[in-house]
């Protein structure tokens, strides 16, 4: 019997632990524990009556956020749409006269969305973000297709100070070359030739 015993990581039981008395003790302890639970208040939070404050990073309804100065963050780079495992994000990119890119239309089909958060991870401008608001159930599945006007919110979401065009070396009507954060003034390439 002992030679063909299967090897396990378990510690061998001490004689006191493998005796019949310890088994009986364990049984009694188990029954006592469950009996004690009868007198305890259930820990259940009844959902529709009690709504727990979800962590701010929990993943539910997707929004498009704005810059601190109130302009759309989304630059329609298609990264979210490319990374989306269920292909529920689609958009059409365009450029404003001032040089900023934007999405002409932006559509998320929440009937397909699996709330994985990959779009948020992929977004270079912190535009697309998941919010803790999970209670968006609809009878008609087509009402789950959200257009840009449904997605845009007035606020910066989880990244209150980030402004993409402050950092990106793109010339817009607000900032020219060398005027962005941590950007050196432009160098006249002809001046530093050997």
């Amino acid at each position: 019997m002992s030679e063909n015993k299967i090897k396990t990581d378990e510690k061998p039981l001490k004689p006191a632990e493998s005796s019949g008395w310890s088994a009986l003790k364990a049984l009694v302890e188990g029954f006592a524990t469950t009996a004690k639970h009868l007198a305890r208040k259930p820990v259940t939070e009844s959902y529709p009556e009690f709504k727990r404050q979800l962590p701010e990073r929990s993943r539910a309804r997707i929004v498009l956020t704005r810059d601190p100065d109130g302009r759309e963050r989304c630059v329609a780079c298609y990264l979210c749409s490319a990374v989306c495992p269920v292909s529920c994000i689609s958009m059409q990119s365009a450029e404003q006269p001032d040089g900023r890119r934007y999405a002409r239309w932006f559509r998320i089909n929440f009937g397909r969305c699996i709330y994985c958060g990959l779009c948020e991870e992929a977004c270079p401008t912190s535009a697309i973000q998941l919010t803790p608001d999970f209670e968006n159930i609809q009878r008609d599945i087509l009402t789950l297709v959200f257009e840009k006007k449904d997605l845009l919110v007035d606020g910066c979401g989880k990244d209150p100070s980030y402004n993409f065009y402050e950092h990106a070396g793109v010339t817009t009507d607000e900032r020219g070359k060398g005027e962005h954060a941590n950007e050196a003034p432009p160098v006249n390439v002809k001046s530093n030739l050997p």
């Binding site: 188990g30 469950t34 009996a35 639970h37 305890r40 259930p42 820990v43 259940t44």
Partner: protein, 331 residues
């Protein structure tokens, strides 16, 4: 005339018994879910009606209106038959359970039992053996791996524990001197047999729980290994019949424990029927408590417990009881 009257009384008794059984079975489900929830610090059903009291009705409506699927590969006839076998055998066991002493009704003596068979105990065993067919055939006819495994386990487990169950009751029969359940209850008017036969009682309860396939002996339907075991492929009211069978079985188990060991309807102050109900209820509560506490046995542990512990102990118990009756002039 007498014959007709007897038939009418019998039919009324059967109707009351069946109605009571089914009603209690449905509310036993509620009680189990509620109590199990409290044992696990949860709330349990509380949406349908106050305290979720309408939950069994909602469940029944759901099960009755659901589509009943018979898998293409299944053996249709046996597949349809198996749930009925489980439910019917469980319910028929109640035919021999005496609810109380004979009562006088319009100058006639009416026994409070559907039929007082002189081989009542053997009848119970016959039906509980037949119940195995429901499980084994249901699992086999589904033509599904998990269902078949569950059915095989069920058959093996129930046949193993049938022996211990039968042997544990031999001392009871020796003490009572009869196979009739009414006579066994009468023999306990002084001292219930749990006092005289604690070993038998323990063996009986353990093997009866194994017979009714409940935690810690729920290997035939082990959810986390076999899907749902022998009733994996069942849906709608056919699944409901398996379910019903299980909960009727709990009542049967409670009633048999009460009749064989707890003195049946005997008890002070309260009417006999109430005493029996109370004993059934207490056994059901303890079974729910056990379900809320113990984990499932492993298959080898199950078999070892049945064959290496319960059967030898019950055999020794029979010999000791026999010796007592022979030499101490007991009974």
């Amino acid at each position: 005339m007498n014959y007709l009257l007897g038939l009418i009384v019998l039919l009324i008794k059967i109707a009351v018994m069946l109605g009571g059984l089914l009603l209690v079975a449905s509310y036993l489900v509620w009680l189990e879910r509620k109590l199990l929830a409290r044992l696990q610090i949860r709330l349990g059903p509380n949406r349908a009606g106050i305290f979720g009291l309408l939950q069994p009705i909602a469940d029944a409506i759901k099960l009755l209106t659901k589509e009943e699927i018979v898998p293409t590969a299944a053996d249709g006839f046996i597949f349809r038959l198996a749930p009925a076998v489980v439910a019917v055998t469980a319910m028929m066991m109640f035919a021999v359970v005496p609810l109380g002493p004979d009562i006088r009704l319009f100058g006639r003596s009416v026994p409070m039992v559907i039929t007082d068979l002189n081989v009542g105990l053997l009848f119970v065993f016959a039906l509980s053996s037949l119940g195995v067919y429901g499980v084994a055939l249901g699992g086999w006819a589904s033509n599904s791996k998990f269902a078949l495994l569950g059915g095989i386990r069920g058959a093996a487990q129930m046949i193993s524990y049938e022996l211990a169950l039968g042997l544990s009751l031999v001392p009871v029969v020796m003490l009572a001197g009869s196979f009739s359940l009414t006579a066994i209850v009468d023999a306990q008017s002084g001292v219930p047999f749990i006092v005289l036969q604690p070993v038998s009682f323990a063996i009986f309860v353990i093997s009866a729980m194994a017979e009714s396939k409940r935690i810690p002996f729920d290997l035939p339907e082990a959810e986390n290994e076999l899907g749902a075991g022998f009733h994996t492929e069942y849906s709608g009211m056919r699944f409901g019949l398996f379910f019903l069978g299980e909960y009727v079985h709990i009542q049967v188990l409670g009633a048999l424990t009460a009749v064989f060991f707890l003195g049946g309807w005997h008890g002070p102050w309260l009417p006999p029927v109430v005493w029996l109900m109370l004993k059934i209820f207490i056994v059901a509560l303890i079974m729910i408590w056990i379900r809320g506490t113990l984990p499932r046995l492993r298959y080898d542990q199950l078999m070892a417990l049945g064959w290496k512990v319960l059967i030898p102990v019950s055999l020794i118990n029979i010999v000791v009881t026999g010796a007592f009756i022979q030499f101490a002039g007991f009974s």
